[in-house]
Amino acid sequence: MIENPPVARLDGVSVRAGNVQILRDIDLTIDPGDALGVFGANGAGKTTILRVLATLQPTATGSVEVLGADATADERFTVRPRIGYIGHVPALYPELTLAENLGFFARSRGLDESVAASALADVGLAGAADRRADRCSHGMQRRAEFARILVSSPVFLLLDEPHSALDADAVDLVDAIVHRTVDQGGAAVLVSHDRARVRSLATRTVEIEGGILR
Amino acid sequence: MTRYAKFVIPALLLAGVLVVLMVNLSSALVYFNTPTELLAREASDERLRLGGRVVPGSVDERDGLVAFSVQDCDAAVEVIHAGVPPQLFQEGIGVVVEGAWTGEAFQSDTMLVKHDEQYRTDAEDYNETDHACTEA
């Protein structure tokens, strides 16, 4: 336990947004080497649980600890760069090219832009590097998002619907990224409604229904 | 706060110093000019506001014009106002007139009465000499 502290631990966490109770009394521990699949229907709270784990979501009750930091304290700022979060909506700047988007990301972590270029090549987008993000297909944008993971090599992966809009090559890429992170002692959380895909990748799975984990 | 103390504290100090400086220089932030200031700028034909106290005994009303003098501690200016003065206009009260300086008299077309912060039920108690100077 002391040698292997959990990557993340939620204890009695609930989340509200406006008039809806999104998560209720969630207890969850994610250990190094875990690849946790989270399943649930549309609107069951899957995305919110990812945002909680990314220290982005203010919680109503409970305690959240991520990579050893209390997610409600200022410590969260120090661990955030080690978290790799890919939402279900691409976060690219539409006016910038893929290379510029990745370059911005790399530089924000103090890395060189050449890292971004090679990451784009690794996800098979070398030919589209100079294309504006809004002129790329949804699948290409998703690939570019995964290139971000290759740039910063986070230890905690949070993937929202990782396989959606991806072709077979890209799906293999996602699987490889998850395996690599987990094998190196990190952890991954994959939120999806596509059980078959994720079950083959996950080391364990949970169901979320009406904001409650089962 | 502690994270940015290095920036915020000097910035606050700087702002404070500048505010003090600004308040001391604030002669520019005025609603009206005093008679002394007006006389110092005789040549100008710009539209100005002139404020001060109506000199008792100087009011002369005829043909829709009101002539009177406005004074501060050091100087008095002759004003010729075209129009009906406000209700409270009287000798000894503060006024602000708007118009242009012609060299001999100040031709005004707009008059505002400026009452001070004194309130007395009896006119005898008014503290005139004091305020003739300090207010303007």
Binding site: T78, A91 | A28
Partner: protein
């Protein structure tokens, strides 16, 4: 981790690049501002001496009102996903604030220069005392960009943002408006503009402090 200045520069570079591609300021806001300058004389009458007199004031009003749209344009169009990624990037929220403001500052400066030229031409303005203008342009651009970035952060995205931000910004930009108009007028009348310049600088400093202190809590609000 990179230094505070480089972080701000990174954000500013991103915003400038985005503007260069989208051209929102150049092709939408700027022409709209110029049209406003053209409309005023039609509304108040094309009396040359009067226009000469009110021209500088009209110019500054247009700069304030349209400048708001320039200074909020990217903060308020940011998507939730982009905001999440920025929060995770580890960039200092205060640096992000200054970076955004820096980009807006440059756009506003350009906006003022072009509209200033249009005003001089359309209103036949006397340029006596124009030496103060570069200074007022810089201070107004700085103040308005800091104010707009701050207000956009407070309001964040949402259907009302486009209407609400100008409501918050307009009254608070008045010290800048008064300072800018009076500084020039004071010089033209042979008086000192120092008080007005100081007033604008104080406003800019106060806005910078407010922006720095609120940057982090605002980033963490959704």
């Amino acid at each position: 981790m990179i230094g505070f200045g480089s972080q701000a520069a990174l954000i500013a570079r991103r915003d400038i690049l985005r503007e260069r591609r989208s051209g929102e300021v150049l092709w939408v806001t700027l022409p709209f501002g110029a049209i406003a300058l053209l409309l005023v004389p039609l509304a108040v009458g094309t009396d040359a001496p009067m226009l000469r007199q009110i021209g500088p004031g009209i110019f500054w009003v247009v700069v304030m009102l349209f400048g708001v749209f320039i200074s909020i344009r990217q903060t308020s169009s940011e998507t939730d996903a982009q905001r999440d990624q920025l929060a995770l990037s580890g960039l200092d929220p205060a640096a992000v604030y200054f970076g955004r403001a820096l980009a807006s500052f440059l756009f506003l400066l350009g906006f003022q220069l072009v509209l200033g030229f249009v005003t001089v031409v359309l209103y036949d303005i006397s340029l006596e005392g124009w030496l103060i203008l570069p200074l007022t342009f810089v201070i107004v651009a700085a103040g308005l960009s800091l104010l707009g970035t701050l207000a956009a952060g407070i309001v964040a995205t949402g259907q009302n943002a486009a209407a609400l931000v100008p409501l918050l910004v307009a009254p608070l930009s008045i010290p800048l408006l008064i300072g800018a108009t009076q500084a020039l007028e004071a010089l033209q009348l042979g008086r000192s503009s120092l008080t007005w310049v100081l007033m604008m600088i104080v406003t800019v400093i106060v806005l910078a402090i407010a922006g720095v202190l609120s940057a982090q809590p605002l980033q963490e609000t959704r």
